[in-house]
């Protein structure tokens, strides 16, 4: 009987990813097992196949895919790993669906420290575990130094849509109400704060969070009155509402006073010359729904930890130009147009 070949343990503390970790050989297998499988641990990964097999639910399913290139990789309140899990879950949840499974592909730059890779993987595992949505399959590639900014993560997620639910932008009608689940701009400002050397008296954290629990509560309270939901990530609330307006052939009128913004976010935006309406969020949603259900759904949201600051911020109106207009706190009117160009570098 031959002894099992001696396998040196990964030097997590000082080791770095090198090209051998991407070549498909023993080194790669070790990286995957010791870092990814360990962190993401679930029955599918334990079986060690290239694909994950599961039974499919009856009825409609949704599938989504996302790429994560955030810089810096670690920011107050999260990192690229937890962001990837939350963001993908949220895309599924915006369709009203229950998220079921995730996959994750890692493109890692040669020289990336193993300690950081482990930190990211562990964070993903924790996020997936807390959300109850496992990462059942994945892939790893290593590229030469300079060809990836540390690590890029691509994900796919699938979910099951509860019977009868069919959310879509083209269902919006004039008179429908717009609900925002909480404060704007937390994520973008938290990420920017690291870059711009701002410091905060009370720690301002990214709002990165999985919204499927909140969505489930909303669907229960008034699912058949919901028209559409979106999470305002890149480009902020402004981009999301402009997209919805274009697709549904209506306009929006918002009330600035009704939009919740934390004082620190308002102050940081003031200092940096940013508008919270354009800043990315990673744990918020916008829902458009029939007026008669607005108060009920709002009440349901406010009982959920991720919806405490939820508010009705405006309504859909007839408008061939699809403008998003806002009555300012000052009393005058303004438009909330698309963002032009790039305001914040890589925040998702």
């Amino acid at each position: 009987m031959t002894a099992k070949a001696y396998r040196r343990r990964l030097d997590i503390k000082n080791g770095r990813v090198d090209l051998s970790h991407g070549s498909g050989g023993r080194a790669m297998a070790q990286l995957i097992t010791d870092i990814f499988h360990k962190a993401l641990d679930n029955e599918w990964l334990r079986r060690g196949n290239d694909q994950a097999a599961f039974d499919v639910a009856q009825g409609r399913m949704v599938m989504t895919t996302d790429g994560y290139v955030v810089s810096p990789l670690f920011f107050p309140g999260g990192d690229i790993g937890s962001l990837a899990v939350h963001g993908t879950i949220n895309d599924i949840a915006m369709g009203g669906a229950h998220p079921l499974y995730l996959s994750a592909s890692f493109i890692i730059e040669e020289g990336f420290p193993l300690v950081d890779l482990k930190r990211i993987a562990d964070s993903m595992g924790a996020a997936a575990g807390a959300a109850g949505v496992p990462v059942v399959t994945g892939d790893t590639k290593v590229v030469e130094r300079g060809k990836a900014d540390g690590v890029f993560i691509s994900t796919t997620g699938i979910g099951a849509v509860p019977g009868g639910l069919d959310l879509s932008a083209d269902k919006i009608q004039p008179g429908d109400r717009v609900i925002l689940s909480g404060t704007l701009g937390d994520h973008g400002v938290a990420v920017m704060s690291k870059r711009k050397n701002l410091s905060f008296d009370t720690a301002l954290l990214s709002d990165s969070a999985p919204l499927h629990g909140l969505v489930a509560a909303m669907v229960e309270a008034g699912g058949h009155h919901l028209r559409v939901m979106r999470d305002p990530t890149r480009g902020g609330l402004a981009a999301t509402l402009n997209e919805l307006a274009d697709r549904s052939n209506i306009g929006f009128r918002l009330a600035e006073d009704a939009i919740p913004v934390r004082p620190e976010v308002a102050a940081a935006c003031e200092l940096l010359g940013l508008d919270p309406l354009y800043v990315a969020n990673e744990g918020k949603l916008v829902a458009v729904l029939a007026p008669k259900a607005a108060e009920t759904v709002l009440a349901a949201m406010r009982t959920h930890p991720l919806g405490r600051d939820a508010a009705i911020i405006g309504e859909a109106i007839e408008d061939d130009h699809h403008f998003v207009q806002m009555t300012t706190g000052f009393g005058g009117g303004r438009m909330v147009d698309w963002l032009s160009g790039e305001q914040l570098p890589r925040i998702c």
Binding site: H321, T328, F330, G331, G333
Partner: protein, 379 residues
């Protein structure tokens, strides 16, 4: 936010709106021009136009330093940036300003040039110190507000003995801007705007004080009110101007007493005088040549002058012939009167500089105000 929120109080705004409406004379017209980018932005962002009676018109003048930067100067900056040894540091606003042939710093960066956005001139000096092998050039623009920060950067670089730091200077002077609105060689082609009063700039006035405006009030017989940049400041100033017009006065009044004095900031003025001197003439985008309107580094600091260090020649680029930025900057035309507005020229595809900076009249109108055009054309 202290000293900010109080000046954005909606209820006080309503009081001012009623007072202004009560004091304007029927049949009289009040055309008030502001030439401070901060005011252009505040008026649009807070929707101040909605609070004013129809006979009070706010006109945006050339208060946006990005907007008045000529095509040729952008081309020169691009030329600098593509040199392999150069690191060009710039304020964010300049990245998308169109140069000749649709080039821009943003596109040049995409092609591989080392262009870095900085928030403060100190950041540029820090980069020069940290990377001695790079030739760090700071792309300096702005009216009197940003000139002292550039002066301090040169002072700091000199104190640190940095040999790899220089400034590409495009600083311009506010009194010259006012002059160009009222009287300039281009008046015949671009027209003269009828102005009843001036909203004087806020930040610039903290530096130069209220004194420089006394000449204009006297010479042209128009009232000037130096104004803070919060929306209530603007409304209060409008009320003050309406009163001056009604009473036939043309004085310089200071609404921004909490930050502006008659003499301004002596330290800042001294710093600027140490490092800069006026150029005989400088070209402004859309306005042509304006005498004694721009600054360059003094001879003693030639070592920090990027134009000398890199032997830059003025490229003299051309504006798009259909672009009305010139007339718009002088308040003679509105953005919607430009054929390119909203069609070929949008914030994503700017043809002229008024569309690029958030303080530019066209960008401000597009981003915040164009929903009103529909109401006007329907009426």
């Amino acid at each position: 936010m202290k000293y900010i929120d109080e000046y954005r109080d909606g209820r006080i705004a309503q009081t001012f709106a009623r007072q202004i409406a009560g004091e304007v004379k029927a049949g009289a017209s009040y055309r008030l021009i502001e030439f401070c980018g901060g005011h252009t932005h505040a008026i649009s962002r807070f929707g101040i136009a909605d609070l004013l009676p129809a006979n009070v018109r706010m006109i945006h003048g050339p208060g946006c330093p990005v907007c008045v930067l000529p095509v040729g100067r952008i081309d020169m900056a691009i030329g600098l940036a593509i040199r392999p040894e150069v690191t060009l540091c710039t304020y964010g606003d300049l990245m998308r300003v169109p140069g000749s042939q649709g080039a821009s710093l943003l596109k040049t960066k995409a092609a591989g040039a080392d262009i870095r956005m900085v928030y403060s001139t100190l950041d540029a000096v820090r980069i020069a110190e940290a990377e001695p092998s790079r030739e760090v050039v700071f792309f300096a623009i702005g009216f009197e507000t940003t000139t002292p920060p550039t002066a301090l950067a040169i002072r700091l670089a000199a104190a640190k003995g940095l040999k790899n730091f220089s400034v590409f200077c495009n600083h311009v002077l506010t009194p010259a801007a006012i002059q160009s609105i009222l009287e300039s060689p281009e008046v015949r082609t671009l027209g003269r705007v009828r102005v009843d009063g001036f909203i004087g700039p806020s930040h610039v006035s903290t530096i130069i004080g209220t004194q420089p405006y006394e000449f204009f009030a006297e010479e042209f017989g128009k009232p000037v009110v130096v104004t803070g940049f919060e929306p209530l400041d603007v409304l209060q100033a409008i009320l003050m101007l309406v009163r001056q017009v009604n009473e036939g006065r043309h004085e310089v009044e200071n609404q921004y007493v909490r930050a502006v004095t008659r003499d301004g900031n002596a330290i800042a003025k001294r710093e600027v005088a140490e490092f800069f001197e006026p150029r005989k003439s400088f070209v402004w985008r859309g306005l042509g040549v304006v005498p004694y309107s721009g600054l360059r580094l003094k001879q003693a600091y030639a070592a920090f002058d990027a134009e000398l260090r890199f032997e830059l020649a003025d490229a003299g680029g051309e504006d798009n012939p259909a672009c009305e930025c010139g007339a718009i900057l002088r308040g003679v035309k509105t953005p919607t009167e430009c054929k390119l507005f909203g069609k070929l020229c949008t914030p994503d595809t700017p043809m002229g500089s008024c569309m690029v900076s958030s303080e530019g009249a066209c960008a401000a109108h597009w981003t915040y105000g164009r929903f009103r055009d529909r109401a006007r054309s329907a009426a």
